[in-house]
Symmetry: C2
């Protein structure tokens, strides 16, 4: 109760009192002075404490509930939303935003999909590879492969890592997994205990946050600036409580598209030694560079502190569900054991097919083709953004990958834009999803994975109209614009 007295109300402000109460409570939640699951004071009690009308508190609580900060239980009161609920909701929304959702697939301008369109998948090549494997290995193609992965595939991956990324690694430390998400989940299970601290970039990929939270980890955000983490902020946090793990996408990050400078890559590695933490490098888009191939953190990792994860899903064939972890020597055994009790092993058949495609060069041919295709789309996107976006809006210009991060003026929320955009047939991903607490954000992600090039410019033109509408509203009444209207 004592925390609530600290809520400061400015009765001379134009801001309605109920919004001031709402802001005060959100602040208490963010500062962790209120814990998930904690009961908020009864309405009349808080009203008399703050010397306001009961209706003011009712409205503030309603707003908290609507915005996902609280839940009310009939006959019992209002509570700070428990962590479990938040995990649930993030996943569900990620789920709804994913390719599986038929309704969203029909939206005319899809700037939300994160994997390349099915028509670009190398179906014929893969079919040939599958049939070659089945003719060659017969039933053995279906037998359990080693839990750590089919050895010839790990050997092909070892060569690939050396040739393409200058990473030297023995096959013993390469672990085949069912995509990057499983890689993150397995490392979490191997390393994290309840209460352990994980640093993540802010914003970051929500699937990783869910995996960390499911181990009871405490998530700490490090702002992602133009050229990598905010080093001042990072240092301050390291001095107070270093993490067990730092989760990063140093190249073409999801959702911002930004990359670390080489300097910051080196600094992060040095800090991991000084403050004794481990790093997960989620290298989700390395092959989709448009200027030059980026250098993974792992290439520079002389102290062996980086778990390197690469997926073949987004860029290659999502339905394959294959990726790998290159683990530090010291943790390699543990990773193999966790993989075993997670799902024994990944599909031996698809492992064998991928191996064939890595060996005969057809994977590289596909990569080359995709780079050409998306480089063109990326150029189109940069031109169209420059041509159509309103003045007040800023965006990143990534050097690879599929994502652009667009930022509205401070005070405008991207979920409010989402609702306007969807009416014009445009699907974007609001920034909220990429923050652990799902807080309202002026940023949003535009993906070029699934928007056909011939529709790209028209889509951005319509989007700029939606932004203009939002900005007009905001200009007319900045206080109204400041009210966050959640999506679902």
């Amino acid at each position: 109760m004592e925390h609530f007295v600290s809520i400061h109300l400015d009765r001379s402000s134009d801001k309605p009192l109920y919004i001031q109460v709402y802001d005060g409570i959100v602040q208490l939640i963010k500062e962790r002075k209120l814990s998930p699951g904690e009961k908020l004071p009864p309405i009349r009690k808080l009203a008399s404490m703050l010397n306001v009308n009961s209706v003011t508190i009712v409205n503030a609580y309603r707003l908290l509930e609507r915005d996902g900060f609280a839940i009310s239980r009939v006959g019992s009161g209002t509570y700070v939303r428990p962590v479990g609920d938040i995990i649930e909701e993030t996943s569900e929304i990620a789920n709804r935003m994913s390719q599986g959702n038929e309704a969203l697939l029909k939206v005319p301008f899809n700037f939300s999909g994160t994997s390349i369109s099915p028509e670009y998948f190398p179906v014929k090549t893969f079919k040939d590879a599958l049939n070659r494997v089945l003719d060659r290995d017969g039933g053995y193609a279906f037998a359990y492969s080693e839990s750590q992965g089919y050895l010839p595939l790990r050997e092909s991956l070892r060569k690939f890592l050396f040739r393409e990324y200058a990473i030297e690694a023995p096959v013993d430390y390469i672990h085949v997994v069912s995509g990057a998400q499983q890689g993150i989940d397995i490392i979490s299970k191997a390393l994290l205990d309840f209460g352990d601290v994980v640093y993540v970039e802010s914003p970051t990929y929500p699937g990783a946050i869910d995996a960390f939270k499911s181990r009871g980890a405490r998530i700490v955000e490090i702002p992602f600036l133009q050229d990598g983490p905010d080093m001042e902020d990072l240092l301050a946090k390291l001095r107070s409580r270093p993490p067990k793990l730092f989760y990063t996408m140093p190249n073409f990050q999801n959702p911002t598209g930004r990359s670390y400078s080489e300097q910051k890559k080196k600094e992060l590695l040095a800090l991991s030694q000084k403050y004794d933490f481990l790093i997960i490098e989620d290298d989700h888009m390395n092959d989709l560079y448009y200027t030059e191939r980026p250098v993974p953190l792992k290439t520079l990792d002389t102290a062996d502190r980086v778990f390197y994860i690469k997926s073949f899903s987004k860029f290659f064939m999502p339905g394959l569900r294959l990726g790998f972890i290159l683990a530090p020597e010291h943790f390699s055994k543990k990773i193999a054991e966790v993989k075993y009790f997670s799902d024994i092993t990944s599909s031996g058949l698809t492992q064998r097919a991928l191996d064939v495609m890595l060996q005969d060069g057809s994977f590289n041919e596909h990569a080359e083709r995709m780079r050409g295709l998306f480089r063109e789309r990326w150029n189109l996107m940069i031109r169209a953004l420059n041509k159509h976006m309103p003045q007040e809006v800023s965006w990143t210009e990534p050097q690879g990958g599929l994502f652009f991060w667009v930022t509205l003026p401070s005070g405008c929320y991207s979920t409010n834009l989402y609702s306007k955009a969807i009416k014009k047939g445009i699907l974007l991903t609001p920034g909220d999803f990429f923050y652990p607490d799902r807080r309202p954000s002026p940023g949003f992600r535009l993906s070029i994975a699934q928007i056909p090039p011939e529709k790209l410019e028209e889509g951005l033109k319509l989007l700029s109209q939606a932004i203009d509408e939002l900005l007009d509203e905001f200009r007319m009444d900045p206080l109204r614009g400041d009210i966050y209207r959640p999506l679902f």
Copy 2:
């Protein structure tokens, strides 16, 4: 320290003092009076406390270490083995015993393999199904499917459940996963928090124990008698502390091959309501019945308390990595969310191929063929066991599945038999692996999955010779026979 005074030493016994000290400490560990990671007393201190020579304590500690109950750290002392280490080792051994191990594959009489031999896999049929899917769906066969599973496959599974098992379930509660192990892991993540209690049958499948332990669960064992759980023991434990989850294989259990009577199935379901716990039914072998199709617990589950897991791996094609969870309505949403952050979705391509095979009847044809084949092998096995096994040995006669559980006279350990058997080219699975604390066991598992019928009788003849050797040693010196010699 105070616990160690309770170690009772009988100086008039023939049993060496160091083994008595060893037994006393093992007892303290099992009663959880000593915690994992706890330091054992310094050698001289314990020696003077128990009034024995230091060498006695040194020998006892060495034995504890050799048997996996303790670890010694140079310059620091001896510690009760931490839980994490135990998980590690169980998985590693399971791994070594699995099909991936080339060296073990070459053993002439393999009574250890748990999935049917690759030569029985329906390769041609599956290849046709794959090619049909690729020709029909093109790149869309590789697109992400819904996290919960490809809808037409879930519809086929719904029909299959109704037709074969008389289970009525809407597709909404069916969740496609990458094999039974992932099913167990996902349910663990969805339901278990640190300190939650899980009841398991004793002995049981070690992969399940690992998944529960990784959530910090406390494992409680319920002895598996001839016709199901020991109800008296179960009731006593329920009255003292009911579990959150009860993990069971009610039909053709792994490793014992035993099944619940219908009476005990009903009793367990009634108890789950009375004591408010949930049940995981791992129905790993239902299709491999030799007399009549067994009734799953789920068929009788009117109160919707059972998570039903079925895998297509062991019986069909292990490398497929497909199975499903049928979840209680109330938990279905949660399961979908955990699946999402575990690995997004299972391979869409193999889901589509399995769907084709369920729809065109080729899955059922394969099942029928396998039943015929293994029924024959099962008959051979029963005859050979009766003919060759020494008098002192007993075994189960399962009504389906691949496993026989053989029990040596009390005081004989199956790991000691393992070492003798492997010298004769026979691979069996010692019982230790199927107990949470890996304690020495007189029981062991024989599997008929991979032993060719023409080698079966010869294998059992050789095995009975190995048992005779062990029994001879034991008869000559029961105290020596009582010393457990671990495998690895």
